[in-house]
Symmetry: C2
Subunit: 609 residues, 2 copies
Amino acid sequence: MNVKAVIWTLVILGLVGGIIAASILLTQGSKKDDNKETPQDIIYGYECKSNKCVKVLIDENNFKTAVSQSVCNLFCEEEPNAIGTLWPKPTGKTTIGNTMVHIDPKKIEIHGYRHEYYNIAKERFMRQIAAKFTDDADIINKDGKSFSVNVVTEEGDDVQKLTLETDESYKLTINDNEAYIKANSFYGARHGLETLAQLIVYDDIRRELQVVGKAEINDAPVYKHRGIMLDTSRNYYSVEAIKKIIDTMGSVKLNTFHWHITDTHSFPFEMKSQPELYKKGAYTSKKIYTHKAIGELVKYGRAVGVRLLPEFDQPAHIGEGWKEELLTCFKYQPWSHFCVEPPCGQVDPSQDEVYDTLEKIYSELYEAFDAPDWFHVGGDEVSVECWNTSSTLQAYMKNRGWGLTEQDFMKLWGDFQVKALERLDRITKTPEKVPVVFWTSRLTEVPYVDDYLDPKRYTIQIWTTGFDKKIEDLLERGYKLIMSNYDALYLDCGFGGWVTDGLNWCAPYIGWHKVYENNPKKIAGKYHEQVIGSEAAVWSEQIDDFTIDSRFWPRASALAERLWSDPQTSWRDAEHRMLVHRERLVENGVRAESIQPEWCRQNEGECPI
Amino acid sequence: MNVKAVIWTLVILGLVGGIIAASILLTQGSKKDDNKETPQDIIYGYECKSNKCVKVLIDENNFKTAVSQSVCNLFCEEEPNAIGTLWPKPTGKTTIGNTMVHIDPKKIEIHGYRHEYYNIAKERFMRQIAAKFTDDADIINKDGKSFSVNVVTEEGDDVQKLTLETDESYKLTINDNEAYIKANSFYGARHGLETLAQLIVYDDIRRELQVVGKAEINDAPVYKHRGIMLDTSRNYYSVEAIKKIIDTMGSVKLNTFHWHITDTHSFPFEMKSQPELYKKGAYTSKKIYTHKAIGELVKYGRAVGVRLLPEFDQPAHIGEGWKEELLTCFKYQPWSHFCVEPPCGQVDPSQDEVYDTLEKIYSELYEAFDAPDWFHVGGDEVSVECWNTSSTLQAYMKNRGWGLTEQDFMKLWGDFQVKALERLDRITKTPEKVPVVFWTSRLTEVPYVDDYLDPKRYTIQIWTTGFDKKIEDLLERGYKLIMSNYDALYLDCGFGGWVTDGLNWCAPYIGWHKVYENNPKKIAGKYHEQVIGSEAAVWSEQIDDFTIDSRFWPRASALAERLWSDPQTSWRDAEHRMLVHRERLVENGVRAESIQPEWCRQNEGECPI
């Protein structure tokens, strides 16, 4: 890479005078201090040496060559790895040139289509750019070039709904002060905008907004399903917090927000046809997700490239809000005899009213989520001991000539799945039946899985460990899989216990490295084409609005790169870029976990052992 | 306890009409919804049954008896444990009566003294009260009684500096709509205000601010030194974030903010006499603590009952900002050969200029921190391998006839301590020498400890495990101790690794239970009187402004109760109160870790196994 060319361009564009002023600050030192509370002057710059950005004191000798770290990071890499600081890294041919163009933040224009998603995408892009120089908004140099972004897609203004099958590919070209984004869909185009936003940096030495002067990026995801799951039942999250999560997903090209909206603990979903469900089932009358709020999230999600996938977990994980006569073992004590965590609760599959209620719930979720292309039907942690507490249910089983063994209860569950799915199919309005997702559970195990779950209909979400033999059993049978193996993707693990002292059940904490290295293709081996993607999950026993940012970020970003890029290199190669990425998250208002001392970011490569 | 009396008082005070309206909401259900986005009506109340607050649907039968959970929690306990939801619990005679008085938030007056700390304390109290009904500020009933708080102290307006020896005791009496706080010092009085703030609750059923109508609380701390430590060198924290930490400390009566202000990574302390230290040593020119900012924190700290204890860590943990010729092994690679984490760096004790610089640093810290009553001189993790890299230092030692064994380097270190302490003593202005704190290290071990560290001068801060034999060695020798045993009090433990993958060095995560159960008196046994207190520490390799709240809170609150109250009961007895306390933290703007599903708080006692 021609570092000299970069530097000279910068020198020409830069305000040399300003740098000189900064460079002599040290000698003036305390004098200046008397007048100023905190000196705001820059005294360090960066130089690219052996593919690393090295921190240098700016002085008379190097003031022409030192650049800000944000600029240096964009170039200081050897081909073919020169991808700047892009996260996730592109999968197609990528070239990033070695010049920077000073642009005026007030003269950025995006030319796309009239569809409202474009307006949301534009506003968001401008917000991301403005965030780069918030602290220096008053002093930024505004005399740069105008910058125009031209978006062309096949579908034009006829924007389709985002689905699992949407073509998300795009091509981004930058030529001086013009960028071109070409894509088949809006969704590809908006990914192009995300990439572009990461190629624009604020140089705090020259106080300029700069864009890479020449680039071509061809990009498309490796996996179709790139998601995170949020449980909003154990603890409630505000609609704003969820919107922020979706917004951040968009910035790393994650495309699926799986919403585990209800559970035994609370029922926060507004049910218009049966309001007692949420009126009694929500924690408080304010802790509710209305149809209107969900509809707005669905729309915002699409505008940032994220589809919302609703889960209604059943037949276990049901309780608050429901008529008690439709439930078994609800709030039974000692809970550990009947379920895995308090409170216990499952529906009683022998009662017809259960299915009527389910149909209403499906129908309203389907409506609120604007006809989602997939639906998650839960299916985890059904307890035979729970069902076996009900004499009504026992009588029902005896009447059918069944016993009360595990096998009988699995038959009961299998029948429940058939009946429940019939109800789901009644309310969906597509010619094709909606694909459903189902958690690994006793029913997904041999031999029951063969009897009750059609692999053409059910995609299985894995939450065992990544090395569990059951994964292979499912793959052999032709199931499509979504990987959420808890040992790498349950982001709530590793904190204190909550039913007793010690640590929570799935401790230890999972570092971003492990998320990054969790490779679905390796897990699935020869069946890897059956893995449609992964999800990182947050179960919310010990998390709410106030800590959710740091649980997801930047670890969900590590997942995003695994799924978009399927990197063949290790986390070590991504580490410095991750440090830069984390700061970008913070810059955009995300309270992401810090992963290293700032010293390590400023002194690239000096920290790893 | 006379629950009926409570209830009747509430009924009389309550707006019965409002409750009836709420009670019939369920039947109206969806009709009302059409006009209103989110129904804000309360449908659950609480009843005290067998010392537990039980959640009940408000209906025609119980609308006279159900109260809000905040009110129920105040009473629903059996003597002698009836302490409401106070955190930390009082240590002296405490009675909390069974009536509530409806007060008008606009008519609260605090009568104290003119000293500015009283103004800060009053403003803060009013802010805490207002936070209780933020969401209902528009609809709160304002027709309650006036409420006056009368503060009397021995010292009156002659408020002394807060020191380790300050008398923090107080007596709080509430009689209908008047409260009396009696104390020897302002600092005791302000503790009384904290307690009082916790006895005022917002009843969201009646939409009233209520205060306990009759109470007497006699209270004083068990331990003198109740602290937390923050490292602001690995990552920088904004002054506002630090102020918020100090503010929150005040709310749980923690009294010492130990500020590990510099380290090898960065030197953010403004040095007027030698500005290159911070100009070169700070991460950026904005990431600095000025004298002015520190002075304001010291003042604010005193007003909320928190003394600031500055640490200047030495002779290791020194690097950025210093002249390289005064250092040994600074930034050496591979770092693991010379120190415990990157970057390495120690001062070279053979150079006189080192002591001159130290004296300047002591002097400016002493000034900025407004003559702190104690000083922390660091002293951890000195590496013989680091010193042994310096040929200058080797020559110095040879010239004195020493070898280069560990013993020789300990002698070097011991001499450094003597010389450095002389410099500290030059700049302090008290008749008595300032007590110093020193981390456990090789020098605090037998036999070196006997040679170099005077137990009359040095208090040792323990960061070994709580069961380390070295603790007894120190106690036997008469040292006073501050317990920060890392297995219970290092709150940064249990996250991902940062020099490599896996987990950080002191994993696993420490749950609040463990902090609560970490009993210095048990650790010290017969020498327990030598333990002056404890500190929870946050080392900031992986933490900054955006995640600090959840690292400290509510775990530092668990420490606060251990140190203030020395509870003889287990964490189990404190659990429900802790859940309430965590919500109080959130209410006051602290992004504290959630520790359980909201269901567990609403269903007291139903979650523990």
